[in-house]
């Protein structure tokens, strides 16, 4: 007789589920296949974790990212080996560039077959190496729980991002006594959260003495939940705030000191303020070329303070005078404490001219051109915004003209309400991301603003929406063109609309064929009734807005020109 307590042995597939429960996962997106049948057998008996069957693996990853963006938790997806795994690449790369936490499980052939070009074998660890934060191949069940623990930790700390775990089939079938590790032991992974106090004082001093200061708030402020600290500090220091596309919602757009979005399609005054400031305080942005233009011309008279959790982002594209490596929230809190504790003096008077100048720039607005009897997207979006704002909806977008118009038209006042693919610019992201959002915030109105091109990239997910009754309201700005590319062709390629005229199906019929609702809107007076009908309907809806094909997005800064070369209309 032994005194040892006999614990039941679990299969690798069961260990997988127990690990997820330990991480608090209750929602997972996926698609079954040969090597992960064991896991799906375990799902069959599982009550606490709900699996959502998508219609394409790419959508599983985008849905998980949508879920992560809304909740701030790790999104989780599982797919099979080979094509199942390779279909996830765009989704993984998207989450990597925008810095959102995911743990993606891919199946792999048994360890003994790896390298043999077995059926549905792909070297997914090799393939995802440059588009994931980290990845693992698990060949031995002894490593499984530790690897899952580490993956969740890595994905959701430091600069957040996707982690891929490739599970060899033999691991899922093997048995082990399950124990979930309490701690992770990652010797080489120690993100810096606290900023250097000396740098913080220097930054505060510089900001206090500035005559023409400006802040850029990026996606890092959203990731670290630092909106409150940002708003408090901006008010205390009396500094106007511009946001990047990823930073939208981190500073209330309706605030007097908000400059709104900057960059290629940013506000005239935001671009001018950033170009002319003497101190630029940049938080959680990597200075992507879409906001800087040529980096040598960017904010060239400014002293630059740059907070980022990723040391690689600092002085990569734009050289920082005061670099601060750290988490935006923790550093901003430290700045607030330091400011309140010491006698920093703010001279509001010497900034008066600056604010007057900004007010002057604010007069440079885009006057929308009316080109035809047809609906114009800016009118449609204005009405959607006005009609839905009381619901504080989550708004997902695809990529293109409609994306930029959405960023401009919706006055986002809270973070995690706009889900858009910024870094990778992935058409087909918005619809599945909106599905993830529906599950992340179950009673919230979720919109997907789309183009007729983008929606066709993951339109199959309407079946998923119908099956689980995910009531995404898809607003298709149907102009019959790949509008953003067409816009460039009009301006730069002499109106040679090479392969940008794109046909699509009858979206109303498609919706109906899938068992969803479809509404077509051609006239202004149809907009509000359609929105009312769509919101009242308890399920997914396609709203097909037939819009003017030749509308242009302004403001517009042509690629390769400085961001104060803002074009406001066709006449320029």
């Amino acid at each position: 007789m032994t005194n040892k307590i006999i614990t039941k042995e679990l299969t690798g597939s069961q260990v997988f589920l127990e690990c997820l429960k330990n991480e608090g996962v209750d929602t997972i997106f996926g698609y079954p296949g040969g090597v992960i049948l064991g896991i799906y057998e375990a799902f069959y008996h599982e009550k606490k974790i709900k699996h959502y069957l998508v219609r394409h693996e790419q959508a599983a990853i985008h849905a998980a990212e949508g879920y992560a963006r809304v909740t701030g938790k790790c999104g989780v997806a599982i797919v099979t080996s080979g094509p199942g795994a390779t279909n996830t690449i765009t989704g993984i790369a998207n989450a990597y560039l925008d810095g959102h936490p995911l743990v993606v499980f891919t199946g792999q052939v048994s360890a003994s077959l790896i390298g043999n070009d077995a059926f549905q074998e792909a070297d997914i660890v090799g393939i995802t190496r440059s588009c994931s934060k980290h990845n693992y191949l698990v060949k031995d069940i002894k490593d499984l729980a530790r690897v899952i623990k580490e993956a969740f930790y890595i994905a959701n700390t430091g600069k957040k991002g996707p982690v891929v775990i490739d599970l060899a089939k033999n691991v899922l079938d093997a048995k082990i006594e399950f124990e979930y590790p309490k701690e992770v032991d990652l010797e080489g992974y120690n993100p810096t959260y606290k900023g250097n106090p000396k740098q913080i004082s220097k930054a505060l001093q510089l900001l206090c003495n500035a005559k023409r200061p400006a802040i850029i708030s990026g996606g890092g402020v959203l990731s670290s939940e630092a909106s409150e600290e940002l708003t408090e500090l901006a008010k205390l220091l009396n500094v106007p705030v511009a946001t990047t596309l990823m930073g939208i919602g981190t500073y209330p757009m309706n605030d007097q000191m908000a400059l709104g979005m900057l960059g290629m399609h940013g506000n005239y005054w935001a671009n001018y303020a950033i170009s002319n400031c003497d101190v630029l305080f940049s938080i959680g942005t990597r200075f992507n070329d879409r906001i800087t233009g040529p980096s040598k011309e960017f904010a060239k008279n400014a002293q630059i303070i740059h907070i980022d959790i990723d040391p690689c982002s600092i002085s990569k594209n734009v050289t920082a005078n005061i670099p601060i490596v750290g988490d935006a929230k923790i550093v901003l809190q430290a700045m607030l404490e330091e400011f309140k504790a010491k006698n920093y003096e703010i001279n509001k008077e010497n900034k008066r001219e600056w604010f007057e100048q900004i007010e002057e720039w604010k007069k440079q607005r885009v006057i929308p051109e009316i080109q035809s009897e047809k609906l114009h997207v800016h009118t449609v979006l204005e009405q959607i915004y006005e009609y839905t704002k009381e619901y504080e909806p989550i708004v997902a977008t695809e990529v293109g003209q409609h994306q930029m118009w959405t960023a401009q038209a919706f006055n986002f006042t809270k973070p995690r309400k706009l889900l858009t693919s910024g870094g990778l610019g992935t058409m087909g992201f918005g619809f599945p991301a909106a599905m993830g959002a529906c599950l992340a915030d179950k009673n919230r109105l979720v919109l997907n603003i789309a183009g007729d091109g983008s929606i066709q990239m993951n339109i199959q997910e309407l079946a998923t929406c119908v099956e689980y009754n995910l009531p995404v309201k898809v607003m298709i700005m149907n102009n019959g063109y790949l509008g953003m590319v067409r816009q460039w062709q009009e301006k730069l390629f002499d109106r040679h609309y090479s392969e940008t005229k794109i046909s699509g199906p009858d979206f109303v019929k498609v919706a109906e064929a899938y068992g969803a609702k479809g509404i077509r809107i051609k006239k202004k007076e149809e907009i509000i009734p359609a929105l009312k009908e769509a919101i009242e309907y308890q399920g997914p809806v396609f709203l097909d807005f037939i819009v003017e094909p030749f509308e242009m997005v302004y403001p517009w800064v042509l690629a390769g020109t400085p961001i104060d070369k803002v074009i406001l209309s066709r006449k320029e």
Partner: protein
């Protein structure tokens, strides 16, 4: 300018590939690369020599390497604080000027490790500059082949 970067990394599958992938994905040039386990076989040491990059690129390389999860430590070794050497085998034509060949070998502390009727095989442990002179002197005699280990480097002034 040439930089020698010493990287202490977990000795695990894929670690080397993560480092080299970083160089190719970001368009940095590797001049030489050597990797082997350390005293503690849980870790490996890579010595990477990079050329043709300015200070901001070197800074990015160091930071990007450090960002890799299995990487424990990254050092940019300068000639002032480190010694860098490599092992080189040189096959030289032995049909003529053997006396000259042996004189050069002696002056450079080079060992003759194999002699055949047509070829002398030399073994040198030297730095980049010494190798360059050695090659220049041997070239008129006739170099048939050269095999280089790539540089290894050690920090000698810190402790």
């Amino acid at each position: 300018m040439q930089h020698t970067i010493s990287v202490l990394v977990k000795n695990e599958a894929g670690a080397l590939s993560r480092m080299t992938n970083l160089f190719s994905a970001r368009g940095y040039n590797i001049e030489s690369l050597t990797v082997s386990t350390t005293l503690d076989t849980k870790y490996a040491r890579a010595t990477i020599v990079v050329t043709h990059c300015d200070d901001s690129v070197i800074e990015q390389i160091l930071k990007q390497l450090h960002k890799l999860i299995p990487v424990i430590k990254v050092c940019d070794l300068t000639p002032e604080n480190s010694t860098t050497l490599e092992l080189v085998f040189i096959k030289v034509d032995s049909k003529n000027e053997v006396g000259e060949l042996l004189k050069i070998a002696e002056a450079f502390g080079v060992k003759v490790i194999d002699v055949s009727p047509k070829t002398y095989t030399l073994q040198a442990v030297c730095n980049e500059k010494q190798l360059k002179s050695l090659v220049e002197l041997l070239r008129p005699i006739g170099i048939k082949d050269i095999v280089r280990s790539g540089a290894v480097s050690i920090n000698v002034k810190s402790e």
